[in-house]
Symmetry: C2
Subunit: 120 residues, 2 copies
DNA sequence: TAAACATATGAACAACAATTCATATGAAAG
DNA sequence: CTTTCATATGAATTGTTGTTCATATGTTTA
């Protein structure tokens, strides 16, 4: 975890050395933590949250989502791309229409846990 | 959900009417969805994720967190404020020092679920 | 009460992200 | 093959957010 020289530090480390060691050893790799933050960033936008909620009920085409959320098609399409890139949604094409649906169960679990926290 | 006049729409609603109704009726309030997105936004930054991970192990003072993450005290303090405002961390004062710790179990659950998704 | 230390906070700056607009792609129908 | 419709995408713009710097607050000790 520690790599660059420190600009400042307080006089002593308050925590016990074993705790500091425990933290350093249990800390996942920088890259994984970055990916994790990226994932949550995707949930951190109300438009995308709404899209995911809509897809809780059923697969749906871009146009329908746009109508349900009262937003234009382009905005929804851009956001679906973000959701797709994070593998939170999948899609299938049927003629001109593209149907989106939830990719897996984690989406529901994560959102539900968030809801529990918010509901408090 | 639908409030403003629509700028554009496709010719017909692809989904069946009952699905549209189901979505509209099961959709939480705008305000709740906004709060939910705000919550996830807090998880959507790798500095804050790291702070939370550090606190998984033990309560810790601001200075120690700053050292462990190799960042300056001010940056950590600002981020702790965000975490505090979302009630993800709590703190106790002991003399000059302020110790931060996780506020409740949701934090662990949410992060762990996110990890599962990322690990795939 | 002054000095020292840990933490908090406000302002400024830089990086980023969401939406809109215009337009491109790709499929179906005529 | 041209038109129409659904979706995707690039560029531009505007609003937001993380970090830094300087400084304030609040606690302890000399």
């Amino acid at each position: 975890m520690i790599s660059k020289p420190e600009v400042e530090r307080c006089e002593y480390i308050c925590a016990h050395e074993d705790i500091v060691n425990a933290v350093n050893s249990k800390m996942p790799d920088e890259e994984i933590l970055y990916d994790l933050a990226e994932l949550f960033k995707v949930f951190g936008d109300s438009t995308r949250i709404k899209i995911l909620y809509v897809l809780f009920e059923s697969e749906m085409c871009v146009c329908d989502i746009a109508q349900l959320l009262n937003m234009n098609q382009s905005a929804i399409s851009h956001q679906l791309r973000v959701l797709k890139q994070s593998q939170l949604v999948k899609y299938r094409r049927e003629g001109k229409t593209v149907f989106y649906s939830l990719a897996d169960g984690h989406v529901r679990t994560i959102i539900n846990q968030g809801m529990e926290h918010v509901a408090e």
